[in-house]
């Protein structure tokens, strides 16, 4: 049946009449065609009511047919708030209306209007503001009423992604200006990206009439399209929205499930303009729409927008629209021209000749609805007697379609985001954009050019400017001007009974805006925040201009003075999936990673590394950790320490460089020995630590913390960019895999594999460094004491890492070698009182607080942070990191729990764990300097607010004479 009502070709550019489809809307079946939007398919069935308005629950229908208003928000099966005039109709789809109580056709909230009574203008503003707590009173009701659609909570995430696109020139909008700009740029050799929101190229050429005969647009479009489509330099994206402008022409363009990150050397915005509505009573009824919406319905979808039309206009385009309606067999009862008369007498004559009545100097004062405000059935036409004023009586004309053309507002959103300034000339009622950044240009009606020939020329002018900047042409751009006026300066006719909508999304009437100014909000931005005008889905596309005019008028200023509300990204609503889609979250794995998994490790993140926390069932964490620790203390364990940072320093100045970077003295560090290395920043704060190995006179290998190495390496590079020492600095973190083999039997295990190294206590003493082969793998061996047992760190080139691990497991079998994890290692080092930088230190920790004075050389002339350390250490100390114990059955403090001193907070716990080796809870905490004496007690506030009293003890907790590590 629907096919019967459609217009004949060439109407219906977007639909394929051979492909009918059906879908349901609010439970009823409707027919449409492939290519139909949901709104056009419904309109083809004369179904005009699509949604209910936000506040008054008024029936709403298509307004722009371009996806630029909130009237068409509908609910898909799994997705709310979809624009029905943009979303394609799909066979079998189940579509629902939104925001109603009962049914879309019979909304109880509309009849009673009980919601709106609670929501005067400024409601949100007031209830967020005062009285205190008002928000909590209203929140429940607002949340119930304010949400429009329904989310599908069983939604399965789909694959969205992003991709860069690089071009010399990007052209946003494919109307006559965009097409001509793209062509000119491409013909000069530039690579061009042409971005179009609609499914087809052509912009206004696809729906607008430019001449009496109605032939010019089609002819021009056919010509331009043929040339664009065959041009190898032009890449075209249709159904793609450029949603923002960011610095240096970085443009997010959304097409389907992909967000393109377009980077262009030159950007030409030919985004066109939005047709503006007229403010009068009931201007929101279904059947009242922009003239361009009516012509889009016809040209794009072959849908008759009505049977009997009235055209209300403030420019000559209204006459052209009337002709278009007449050509498609629609009766035009009247053209109501708000001006004194048309610019083109020929146009008026042509319309008159077809029996259409013309009312010059008149307006529609009120649209008269059918029952329940479901559709327009007539208009009340009055003579305009002054700005916004009309005669006391007029004429009523029946119609089921009212087309509005008050003028155009440039699609300025991207340009404002780029820092452009929108200016309004009050006398000519014209806009202009200025202060655009370099390499961003505008062309066509967004640039205030309105005749077709001039628009094409303006596109070429913008392209010529871009080509000049790209040095692809030397042609001087020719300035284009246009005298044609398209805006009526006061298309606002307030009605004492209201419902004269300025903002359809937010149901704001003319008086609401005026009242806001009477309450003292003079700035348009404040009026926006107070009244919420322009905050709905259409983001002020239609409301910004009438709002500015009303504010200007009621504050005795001009629109030039008040300005217009600006627009931030995104240009149109975008899904979080587009922003979040295909996020890259790198992880790093050591060469032994898969062995850990095979051995049942519970992995934990350490920076972007994955490390074993312990081995076994996560539920048994505490027991497993204690067992692993006891095993290291009694037998032998092995831990993957490949994530430790590694930095190599080579060259004549390497020792001098070490001396300047780290706090200790390194000039005389013997070859074959290791030394503890602490790094402070210029503030004197400890920011990292590691072990320095001297491999040769001019060769150091320094470890750094897993999370700190990147920063340490960068700081080293930056310092040497200034010092110009003769040293080469390399970050070798990923180049080496490493393990720490620790425990009383560590030597026995290693002896089986390292046959070319003297492992005797004399030949390879504590803190020595050796090189040799382990299981045939070239290795760097460090005798270290981090966990306080006889231990060897074995560093090998990363590609050998897994083979090293395998060899150790095999060799260790007879000694019951077991792997241990990071959590276990933390317990073991805690028992030894070793500080972990960034766990036991914070942004204030200087060496004195950490009792690291021994690792700071005051004899050398300089190290980074030296002067700050000197200054801080000369002052009275305020806090100190101390070891503490608590009986095993005490409630265990956690990291971050507060240390108290009287009423005050004096510090906090940084590490705390039960130690089976010590037999009590042990920990490190910052305490007030007066609380730091060994043997004294200090209170810690633990979970639940309980206080436990910890005892300060000497460090280390275990093996106080450090005999075990020196074996």
């Amino acid at each position: 049946m629907s096919s019967m009502t459609r217009l004949k070709a060439p109407m219906g550019l977007l639909i394929d009449r051979d492909q009918p489809l059906s879908f349901s809307f609010d439970g009823k079946q409707y027919q449409g065609f492939e290519g139909d939007s949901i709104a056009s398919a419904l309109a083809g069935n004369e179904r005009w009511l699509l949604s209910r308005s936000f506040k008054y629950h008024r029936p709403r229908g298509p307004l722009t047919m371009a996806g630029q208003d909130a009237n068409t928000l509908i609910q898909l099966d799994k997705e709310p708030n979809v624009l029905a005039d943009r979303e394609l109709a799909v066979a079998g789809a189940q579509v629902q209306g939104q925001n109603y109580n009962g049914s879309l056709d019979n909304d109880r909230d509309a009849v009673l209007g009980h919601f709106s009574r609670f929501m005067p203008v400024g409601f949100y503003y007031r209830c967020f503001f005062k009285p205190l707590g008002a928000w909590h009173r209203w929140e429940g009701m607002i949340r119930k009423k304010a949400g429009l659609g329904v989310l599908d909570l069983d939604f399965k995430p789909e694959y969205y992604d992003k991709a860069y696109l690089f071009h010399d020139v990007v052209v946003v909008g494919s109307g006559p200006a965009g097409l001509s700009a793209a062509l000119k740029a491409a013909e000069a050799g530039a690579s061009v990206l042409l971005v179009e929101e609609q499914p087809i190229l052509g912009g206004s050429l696809t729906y607008n009439r430019f001449d009496l005969d109605g032939k010019q647009a089609d002819a021009l479009r056919a010509d331009l399209l043929a040339r664009v489509e065959q041009h190898a330099n032009i890449e075209v994206l249709t159904r793609a929205t450029c949603n923002a402008w960011f610095a240096d022409n970085y443009l997010p363009v959304i097409q389907g499930k992909r967000m393109y990150k377009v980077r262009a050397k030159e950007c030409i915005v030919a985004s066109g303009s939005f047709e503006q509505h007229v403010v009068f009573r009931n201007n929101d009824l279904p059947g009242v729409m922009m003239s361009s919406a009516a012509t889009r319905l016809m040209k794009h979808y072959a849908v008759k927008p009505g049977n009997q039309a009235v055209v209300l206009t403030g420019n000559d385009d209204g006459y052209l629209s009337a002709l278009e309606l007449l050509d498609q067999g629609i009766t035009v009862a009247a053209v109501v021209d708000m001006r004194d008369g048309p610019d083109s007498e020929a146009l008026a004559a042509s319309v008159l000749a077809r029996g259409v009545q013309i009312f010059n100097g008149h307006t529609v004062y009120e649209a008269i609805p059918t029952k329940g405000n479901k559709h327009v059935k007539a208009v009340d036409i009055r003579q305009i007697t002054g700005q916004g004023k009309v005669a006391d009586s007029g004429e009523t004309i029946s119609c089921d379609l009212l087309c509005m053309s008050a003028g155009y507002m440039p699609v300025y959103q991207l340009l404002c985001q780029a820092g452009g300034q929108l200016r309004y000339d009050d006398s000519a009622a014209e806009f202009s954009l200025s202060k655009l950044p370099e390499h961003l240009r505008i062309a066509g009606s967004v640039n205030g050019i309105h005749t077709l020939e001039a628009v094409v020329a303006d596109g070429e002018r913008a392209a010529a400017e871009a080509l000049l900047a790209l040095e692809l042409s030397t042609e001087q751009p020719q300035a284009v001007s246009c005298e044609r006026r398209v805006n009526f300066d006061w298309p606002i006719f307030s009605h004492p009974k209201g419902k004269d909508f300025v903002d359809f999304d937010e149901d704001l009437q003319a008086k609401d805006i005026v009242n806001a100014t009477r309450l003292g909000y003079r700035d348009v931005q404040l009026v926006k925040r107070f009244s919420t005008v322009g905050m709905g889905p259409s983001q002020g596309r239609h409301s910004a201009l009438p709002t500015a005019r009303l504010v200007a008028n009621s504050t005795d200023r001009t629109v030039t003075e008040t300005g217009v509300t600006t627009a931030r990204p995104p240009f149109s609503p975008e899904k979080l999936a587009h922003v979040a889609g295909r996020i890259f979250d790198p992880y790093r794995r050591t060469a032994m990673h898969h062995r850990h998994l095979e051995m049942g490790a519970k992995m934990m993140p350490a920076g972007n590394w994955q490390r074993p926390a312990f081995y076994g069932n996560p539920d048994d964490r505490d027991a497993l950790m204690q067992a692993e620790a006891e095993h290291v203390r009694n037998k032998v364990g092995v831990i993957d320490v490949s994530t430790l940072g590694g930095i190599e320093l080579r060259g004549p100045d390497s020792a001098e460089f070490m001396n300047r970077i780290f706090t200790f003295a390194f000039l005389k560090q013997p070859v074959g020995r290791t030394r503890y290395a602490v790094l402070t920043n210029e503030h004197g704060v400890v920011i990292d630590d590691g072990v320095s190995c001297r491999l040769a006179d001019e060769h150091f290998y320094v470890t750094a913390t897993t999370s700190g190495v990147e920063r340490v390496y960068r700081e080293m590079m930056k310092w040497n960019a200034q010092w110009r020492l003769d040293v080469d600095i390399t970050n070798v973190t990923s180049a080496f895999a490493a393990v720490n083999l620790a425990g009383p039997d560590a030597r026995k295990v290693l002896e089986k594999l390292a046959t070319d190294v003297d492992l005797s206590p004399e030949g390879f003493p504590y803190l020595a460094y050796r090189e040799g082969s382990v299981a045939g793998i070239p290795s760097r061996l460090l005798r270290v004491g981090f966990v306080g047992e006889l231990g060897y760190e074995i560093h090998v080139p990363a590609r050998f890492g897994e083979a090293l691990w395998d060899a150790l497991q095999e060799a260790g079998k007879e000694f019951d070698l077991r792997p241990f994890g990071v959590e276990t290692q933390r317990l073991l080092r805690l028992e030894k009182g070793h500080v972990i930088v960034s766990q036991d230190t914070d942004g204030m920790s200087h060496p004195g607080e950490l009792s690291l004075e021994w690792a700071v050389s005051r004899k050398k002339p300089f190290f980074v942070g030296r002067r700050s350390v000197d200054i801080v250490m000369a002052q009275p100390q305020t806090r100190k990191l101390v070891g503490f114990t608590l009986p095993a059955d005490t409630k265990k403090p956690e990291e971050g729990h507060l240390v108290l001193q009287g009423e005050d907070i004096s510090g906090n716990v940084t590490s705390c764990e039960y130690s089976s080796a010590v037999g009590s809870i042990i920990g490190l905490a910052y305490v007030g300097i007066q609380q730091a004496e060994v043997g004294s007690q200090f209170p810690i506030r633990v979970d639940g607010g309980d206080i436990v009293n910890a005892t300060v003890v000497d460090l280390p907790f275990f093996d106080p004479d450090n005999q075990r590590q020196a074996l």
Partner: protein, 226 residues
Amino acid sequence: MSATSPESLSKRSFVYRQLAGASFRDIAGGAMATGVAEGNNNRSQAEQSALLDLSVLPRTGFRGLTAAAHLQAAGLPIPARPNQASVTGSGELVLRLSQKEFWLLGALSDSGAGVDALNQRGLPAADCYSLYCQDSHAWLALTGAHLPATLAKVCGVDLREASFPLGSIAQTSVARVNVVIVHHQLAGVPCFSILCDSAAAEYLWESLLDAMGEFGGEVIGSNALL
């Protein structure tokens, strides 16, 4: 001939687990996949879109004021400017990463023998330091006709031919991992060699395969390029 497997050798690629089921051969003491278990092991796949692990192929690097002279003395062609690569007669790639940093990537044809030869040469007396790129970096080769479009999904640098011609190098971020990308040819097939942090190799491998999906990309072994 007994079958080579990655775990039978002590030098292992950082992504050998991604190549489960492949056939391997021993290259410089590591296992190189020659053919994968599933998929096309042929040249047409390489010409369309393919990912190849070259991590076990020898490579080395030198940095310092005399590094260029060291390479030159070995008869290697020195790229004129940083971020350019040149190809030797036997197929090695010489990368110039800064004024004074050079990497040499071995050729598939001779299993990287040219790199070993360079490593045998004594270093200049001063200011030339060997680098650890064999271990610090994995070497993944992406081949085929869709290289710029594939990389555009994971990298913010314009890698189209016009701005990234043959012999170009980009030191940049791919899928948020720092990499060196070299544009060259592998057995006549367009190729981006990607040298990435070896610890992130498995991550990057998966990210690249994901990006290649829409172009019909698959993993190949080295025999596909014979």
